[in-house]
């Protein structure tokens, strides 16, 4: 252990540190509990790296500012919680449509509207998928430990840059304020991906011309190119293609295809003791920790429990569920909400195993003993 690299830090600080390690040099945000500490860290530390921090007038402006900075070439980020995430949705759609990389952190709180700011929940899972209007894909990662907060923030930037898309990180109030020990890696050992930059003759440049990879090279403002874009559905020139039905469909397909054709690269899922499990717990974020602890205690009691932990919740790791649904008798989805990812799991299980749901929405992290009790309850009579 290199003592100089070991730190006891919160989930919020780990996100900020991970972002800076990934090369994030522009942050715009608006104060909101329980995400504000990410702003504090960036305000204090970005200038050291020549980066820029700004507290915008609201979350709408924050989202707009990080997109603008990214169009000028920055790796950029904002952080917020439910109410602010709602305000960001329209501009998030622009980033998807114009294919501008950026990272949005949503430290989830409890309940709709203001809800409860200081207690954990997983209430924004569907908002991360479908929050902005119109057909669009989503890359969303759920964080469950401080180490993951650091590592997955770096991964979020890599995915954003590689696929020219916003990436959403879902944390929660528990992880945001909790400290754990992590050993920060030597920055030289990190895999850092930067967006593909346009190299063609500026006269020939088309901002949305597929080079065969499905992902168009990017020309940051000030790099010698002149190009146009819009949130209106556009063709390869960046100009609206509203009068051509075929071109409209092609552009929407392209947004989906660049994600769907790369699922092997994007989808991340962890499995624990699934091989012989009769009961599979599906849990992500902080709740995954309760599920993992439950698997151990259940096995001590002779119940064969395994865990599937989606790390990318969007795109959803369908293959992992398809694999376990063949062997497991029961699949129990545990979430701190009224049932959100549950519906996706249910869709993928296709009735091939018993499916059950444990939802807790009281602002408390689900305890392993509650999951164990739920396992015992739902497995009665299942054989």
């Amino acid at each position: 252990m290199d003592k100089g690299r070991v730190a006891v830090i919160t989930g919020n600080d780990a996100i900020a540190k991970g972002a800076i390690a990934a090369g994030m040099r522009f942050f715009a945000g608006y104060p909101i509990t329980p995400a504000s500490e990410i702003s504090h860290y960036c305000a204090e530390n970005l200038p050291k790296y020549g980066g820029k921090f700004i507290q915008m007038e609201d979350e709408i402006g924050s989202m707009a500012a990080i997109i603008g900075a990214s169009m000028a070439g920055a790796k950029s980020m904002t952080s917020t919680s439910g109410p602010g995430f709602s305000l960001m949705q329209e501009n998030l759609g622009f980033a998807i449509m114009a294919e501008v990389p950026c990272v949005v952190v949503d430290v989830m709180r409890f309940g709709p509207s203001q809800g409860v700011a200081t207690v954990p929940a997983q209430a924004d899972v569907m908002q991360a998928r479908w929050g902005t209007h119109g057909d669009h894909p989503s890359i969303t990662l759920a964080l469950s430990t401080v180490k993951e907060a650091y590592e997955l923030t770096i991964r979020a930037f890599n995915l954003a840059e590689k696929y020219r898309t916003p990436v959403i990180l879902l944390s929660d109030a528990t992880l945001s304020q909790m400290s754990e020990k992590i050993e920060l890696p030597d920055p030289g050992t990190l895999e850092i991906i930067d967006r593909k930059i346009a190299t063609v003759d500026p006269e020939q440049f088309q901002p949305y011309e597929d080079d065969g990879s499905g992902i168009c090279p990017f020309a940051p403002y000030g790099s010698g190119y002149i190009w146009y874009t819009t949130g209106i559905v556009h063709d390869e020139t960046g100009f609206p293609a509203t009068s051509d039905p075929d071109k409209l469909a092609i552009q929407i397909d392209r947004l989906y295809d660049k994600i769907n054709h790369n699922l092997e690269d994007i989808v991340q899922v962890e499995e624990y003791l699934t091989e012989d499990a009769e009961v599979i717990l599906v849990a992500y974020g902080s709740v995954a920790r309760a599920a993992l602890a439950t698997a151990d205690t259940a096995r001590r009691e002779g119940i064969k429990v395994g865990v599937v932990k989606p790390v990318t919740i969007w795109p959803f790791p369908e293959q992992a569920i398809k694999k376990v649904r063949e062997k497991a008798k029961t699949i129990l989805v545990c979430e701190m909400n009224h049932g959100q990812l549950y519906w996706k799991v249910r869709e993928v299980v296709e009735g091939k195993a018993q499916i059950a749901f444990l939802g807790q929405y009281n602002g408390k992290l689900i305890k392993p003993e509650k999951i164990l009790a739920a396992i015992k309850e739902v497995t009665v009579g299942v054989c």
Partner: protein, 276 residues
């Protein structure tokens, strides 16, 4: 090259013309004045970003040969803030309508002005929402008829220049489409200004606002503009009643104050000098 000294071919995407604006609309005149100002200022096209909002004026960025984009309604100045702060060496020009700038984007306007960030705001004020069919905007005068004030408008209007001035803008001017050369002059000064600069161009919407308020043809409205415009100095001697249905033109603010991105760069310099 034609009598326009080549500015049309140099700065406009001629393949996108003719533009979509109605006969008699003032937007084309404003765009004309703006590209002449850009040409006079000698700005490099690849180092210049033009952002325009949603609405009739929002179409402007699509006709311009610059790095340009049209994001969602009302957020132009917030996008501009991100671009300018990250890369202060870029020239950032924001083209907005009265609704885009002072209604849905009003919050971004006052804060961009307050920060004195070095972007140029060009506001095309035609007193209503044209693209969506002639609804009242925050600059629609009292008693005016619009599709959403069919019994006469009961809200007082914003004075966008006063709003910008009060919020902290360091260059503020207003002219109108009858005086395209004056507009060019103000635009040029705004582009050269180091700080938040706003130029409001009064322009007409004969198709909707003009028709609903029986203002006559586009030509008649344009001629009327000349009569409605009152010089700043003269306006000071006039009563509120005398200023009814008039608008004040001139340079309202032109002062030097620290520019936002320069201040931030000084912080970076200071932090890096102290070491970490």
């Amino acid at each position: 090259m034609s009598a326009n000294n080549g500015v049309i071919e140099k700065y406009l995407r001629t393949e996108k013309l003719p533009h979509i604006w109605c006969p008699g609309c003032g937007n084309g005149i404003v765009l004309n004045s703006l590209i002449r100002a850009i040409d006079n200022a000698g700005m490099e096209q690849e180092k210049t970003v033009v952002i325009s909002g949603i609405g009739c004026s929002g179409r402007a960025s699509g006709y311009l040969k610059f790095n340009a984009f049209q994001p969602v309604h009302g957020r132009v100045l917030a996008y501009a803030t991100g671009i300018k702060l990250y890369k202060p060496e870029l020239n950032v020009i924001c083209i907005m309508g009265d609704g885009d700038c002072a209604s849905i984007g009003g919050n971004h306007l006052i804060h961009a002005a307050r920060r004195n960030i070095g972007v140029t705001a060009v506001v095309l004020n035609n007193n209503n929402y044209g693209m969506t069919g002639g609804q009242y905007s925050p600059t629609t005068p009292e008693n005016a008829m619009t599709r959403t004030s069919p019994f006469g408008h009961i809200e007082p209007p914003f004075d966008i220049c006063k709003l910008a001035e009060t919020s902290g803008a360091t260059y503020v001017a207003r002219s109108h489409t009858y005086k395209p050369r004056i507009l060019t002059k103000y635009f040029q000064k705004a582009l050269a200004h180091n700080g938040f600069a706003l130029v409001e161009a009064m322009c007409d919407c004969p198709t909707l606002y003009g028709r609903l308020n029986k203002r006559g043809t586009g030509k008649e409205m344009l001629i009327k503009q000349k009569e409605r415009a009152v010089q700043l100095e003269k306006a000071k001697e006039m009563s509120t009643e005398e200023l009814e249905d008039k608008f004040v033109v001139g340079e309202f603010v032109n002062k030097v104050k620290p520019e936002y991105t320069e201040q931030y760069d000084r912080i970076i310099e200071q932090v890096q000098m102290e070491g970490f």
